[in-house]
Symmetry: C2
Subunit: 311 residues, 2 copies
């Protein structure tokens, strides 16, 4: 199978390099780092064993890439409008596009752009960063869950799972809605609250008032998801998320890093969209609505030279 990577950063760069390192044919789209990687290859500094790829299939323009069987999209969701032009050259009639992105609603919107394409969600549990040109620094975790959104070819989904596993990536195959909403249970409280309070996960849990608030925000997501018919999700999952986060080292979620580095925050798919879905279903999430407003304020106030969200 041919793999294509759109968004060769912390996420796309890591999973693409792992697949290439295991012998898969992988084609990387690069922007600023194109020249560097073409000359020097791709380095992954990893807690699971570092490695270097010497000869990487790199491209500066999507038009120059071959049609692929699987495309991994590692773009920030704020840039999804670019898929309009980046994706078509890589597609053949049966290409599977895997959106390894945060939030709720990305698949629905990309499907509207490309009604016939086969889509899956990729839910990555990983701490990694693109720290220098051609260098992915992978600190911990690394597993990924794949969820079928509109892929009619179940064998293809399973093949992708198998090839990820052969590349040494811990990979699960999960139900789409359950997976997206479960991830939102952690993502919605912690991403925004670490930005609004200029802090990290551990401090929010150490303070009894914000610990309680985080729990209530998580329960808002659980209630909305239950209302929307999502299965296998109740208060025990909230307990588990709090426990897991208690056990983590102090952590800055991606939105906190985006904010700190004055990059656009993924407010639209992490907040606006799921809040809208929940409200329309008659199960609003008031505390997360307030968090969205605070983020919109901070975004406008502190980084006026950036536009956030795809809408």
């Amino acid at each position: 199978m041919k793999y294509g990577i759109i968004g060769t950063g912390a996420i796309g760069g890591y999973y693409g390099a792992k697949l290439a390192h295991a012998g898969q044919e992988v084609h990387f789209l690069l922007h600023r780092d194109y020249e560097y990687v073409r000359q020097h290859g791709l380095q992954v500094d990893s807690c699971d064993g570092s490695f270097h790829l010497d000869n990487v299939n790199v491209y500066q323009r999507a038009e120059d890439m071959p049609q692929c069987d699987v495309v991994l999209v590692g773009l920030k969701s704020v840039n999804n409008d670019k898929l309009q032009s980046l994706l078509p050259p890589l597609l053949h009639a049966h290409t599977l596009v895997v959106l390894i992105q945060n939030g709720i609603g990305v698949e629905e919107d990309v499907q509207q752009m490309f009604p016939d394409v086969q889509l899956a969600a990729g839910l990555a549990f990983i701490c990694s960063a693109k720290t220098e040109p051609g260098l992915v620094s992978h600190q911990c975790y690394g597993s990924i869950n794949l969820a079928n959104y509109s892929c009619k070819d179940e064998a293809l989904m399973q093949t992708v799972v198998d090839e990820f596993r052969q590349a040494g990536i811990e990979t699960g195959l999960v139900e789409y809605h359950e997976a997206r909403w479960k991830k939102a249970v952690w993502n919605m409280p912690f991403n925004g609250m670490t930005v609004a309070m200029h802090t990290q996960t551990d401090q929010l849990l150490k303070n009894q008032s914000t610990r309680q608030l985080i729990r209530e925000q998580m329960m808002e997501v659980v209630s909305a998801a239950q209302h929307l018919g999502v299965k296998n999700l109740d208060e025990s999952f909230v307990d588990k998320m709090i426990e897991t986060t208690d056990a983590m080292t102090p952590y800055s979620p991606s939105m906190r890093l985006d904010y700190d580095f004055h990059r656009p925050m993924e407010i639209y798919y992490l907040y606006t969209r799921p809040l809208e879905i929940a409200r329309e279903a008659g199960c609003p999430m008031p505390k997360l609505e307030m968090l969205e407003a605070e983020l919109r304020f901070l975004e406008a106030d502190l980084i006026p030279w950036h536009v956030s969200g795809t809408r």
Copy 2:
């Protein structure tokens, strides 16, 4: 009538000085500024006309003060436990104690300390600050509403109103619950949000997301108050508060100043107590609950050397 002032700061200092300037007998309790004011008197720099009081009745200890007919309490509510020792020397059988303080529940708690004392609420609409020893700087507004909490002597209430007016203070006599909750409509959103977002009133209203949030928070207070039987309070009052604030110059409410100067914030009576009352009445205020949690976090995180609230 004899007036006693406990808490000779921006509020107690201003109203006490205005009364003394108009010829009333006023006795001031002072702490750090005692020696200065004893020697140099009290200066009021005011937008309505500045004046100086040469010979001021000042005391360092409540025990040395005479019994008074009216006591104005201008303490921050975080210090109300001190009333236990400060108030008794000033009380006779018919003393009226006016709590010129922020929040909901101060009268109830002071009444529990002193079951037989006659209490009133004082709701000040004033921008003033004690900028130096013996100097009250009064920038704008200055009116006060008095509300009867437990004063059986209606003639006494009216006399106080009359004497305030004779002193050139715009003074209203209003219904207690309505007045306290109406003030909370403005106080609860703006005090906390200017702290949480490190901003001022105008910026919160300029941003469409926080403007909407402020409105929703105000509506939470209106709904809770209506639920508690408060009259003459509906959405039109929210419109009026937003309009009024639009017309104000950029403003930092008292809690923002307390936070900036690392003084304890009045979280208990401005948030904890009214939130509890609303929750118990079956009409919770979720967005203001979240704001309380954020304030508790900021309080613990940034000023660990202060204790906030009386509880």
